[in-house]
């Protein structure tokens, strides 16, 4: 059988059968050893950078400097997690949607299933949402409905989007392709029971 096979091989292989057999055997042994040692498994993901209070976080759309976080009661009921930060719009258009930028991490949930803040408000006037204008940094508060009874620290997925000139679906220009670039970790103060925060309209 081998002779029949050898007839189809180039001369430089068929003339040195033991050499090439040895090389083949080494390759098989090496592959099996690599597999057993986990060499073919996916590499563990690189840990993302971690940010804390007063860190400057820069994405393509925003520059954020988180200041503090606290839990407060809404004036129409419910409990909310508030994160105060300096926020600068790095794009060329006013923007009132703060989406796919900072998402409250929830245990066991991938970042795609976590939530954007319900709204952004001004600390001086939390009764309504606001727009952030280019090159006009503003001190704002991002508001999330509180998922659990209490927390003494909170983690957030920091996401970055890319501006796409033509999206694949309908060919318009849009910010898309969000991906996590870091984790923000903030200590949370419990201010429930003090003066209620006014919940802004979404």
């Amino acid at each position: 059988m081998y002779r029949r096979l050898a007839q189809h091989l180039p001369n430089w292989i068929s003339e040195h059968p033991r050499l090439w057999s040895g090389i083949g055997l080494l390759l098989v042994v090496g592959a099996v050893a690599t597999w057993r040692l986990g060499g073919f498994e996916a590499a563990p993901p690189r840990p993302l950078p971690r940010f804390g209070a007063e860190s400057v976080i820069t994405t393509n759309e925003w520059r954020m400097r988180p200041l503090k976080a606290w839990i407060a009661d809404g004036d129409s009921g419910g409990t909310f997690l508030m994160v105060e930060m300096w926020l600068e719009n790095r794009t060329q258009r006013s923007e009132s949607l703060f989406v796919e930028a900072l998402r409250l991490a929830e245990p066991g949930k991938p970042w795609r299933e976590t939530k954007d803040p319900r709204t952004l408000v001004l600390p001086s006037d939390p009764s309504r949402g606001i727009a952030i204008h280019p090159e006009l940094p503003a001190r704002v508060v991002a508001v999330w409905p509180l998922p659990s009874a209490s927390m003494d620290h909170a983690e957030f997925h920091v996401l970055n989007r890319t501006f796409v000139e033509r999206t694949a679906l309908i060919g318009n220009a849009a910010w898309a392709r969000a991906r996590p670039i870091g984790v923000l970790d903030l200590a949370v103060e419990d201010q429930r029971g003090s003066a209620p925060a006014k919940e802004s309209k979404p």
Binding site: R93, H133, P134, L136
Partner: protein, 190 residues
């Protein structure tokens, strides 16, 4: 042949109009004080003012609410006319020479004070204001873009109005601007 067809497809994909281009509005141009006519509306920018802050007086006896800014407030006084059917004047942006867009503030300056809060019917033009926050160094050369359509999706016509903001005029306006500008609610009792 296949390579030619692929090359042709690639060329077409890159050189046909994009979604945004296909839905771009008709633009009509004008200047401060001039009536600019789109297909379904006409707008005149009668005056432009700057201020460090706005004070909103609801006319209810309470002190006016203050709206500060990290830049300056630009308040444009407009006269808007509906030409074909009732409309709400909802979109106004400042467009700077270096390509920045600043939307009129429709959150901190609510509907009772600005033009977008009232329906305009043909034959009954309305006057009102739109207010913008803008950095001081973006004022020179800025134009106002206005249309009845709220979103950037397929407005029919957009009026592009030169506000006459030359460098000298901007310097003069900044030098003379008041600390605050009072806006009174259209529903304030007189």
């Amino acid at each position: 042949m296949v390579a030619l067809a692929l090359a042709a497809m690639l060329w077409m994909a890159r050189h046909t109009a994009s979604y945004d281009d296909n839905r771009a509005p008709f633009t009509v141009h004008g200047t401060l004080g001039e009536t600019v006519r789109g297909r379904d509306f006409a707008v005149t920018v009668e005056k432009v003012e700057l201020a460090r802050a706005l004070r909103l007086d609801a006319g209810d006896g309470d002190p006016p609410r203050r709206r500060d800014t990290y830049g300056v407030w630009l308040v444009a006084h407009l006269r808007v006319e509906a030409l074909q059917q009732p409309l709400r004047f909802q979109r106004a942006e400042l467009h700077t020479p270096d390509g920045y867009y600043y939307e009129a503030d429709d959150r901190r300056v609510d509907m009772d004070y600005r033009l977008g809060g009232v329906e305009i019917v043909p034959g009954l033009p309305q006057r009102g204001v739109v207010a913008f926050e803008i950095p001081r160094d973006k004022l020179a050369g800025t134009v106002l873009e206005a249309s009845p359509d709220r979103y950037r999706i397929a407005p029919d016509s957009v009026a592009v109005i030169d506000l006459g903001l030359t460098r000298d005029r901007v310097d003069g306006l900044l030098r003379d601007m008041p600390e605050s500008l009072l806006l009174v609610s259209r529903y304030a009792s007189r």
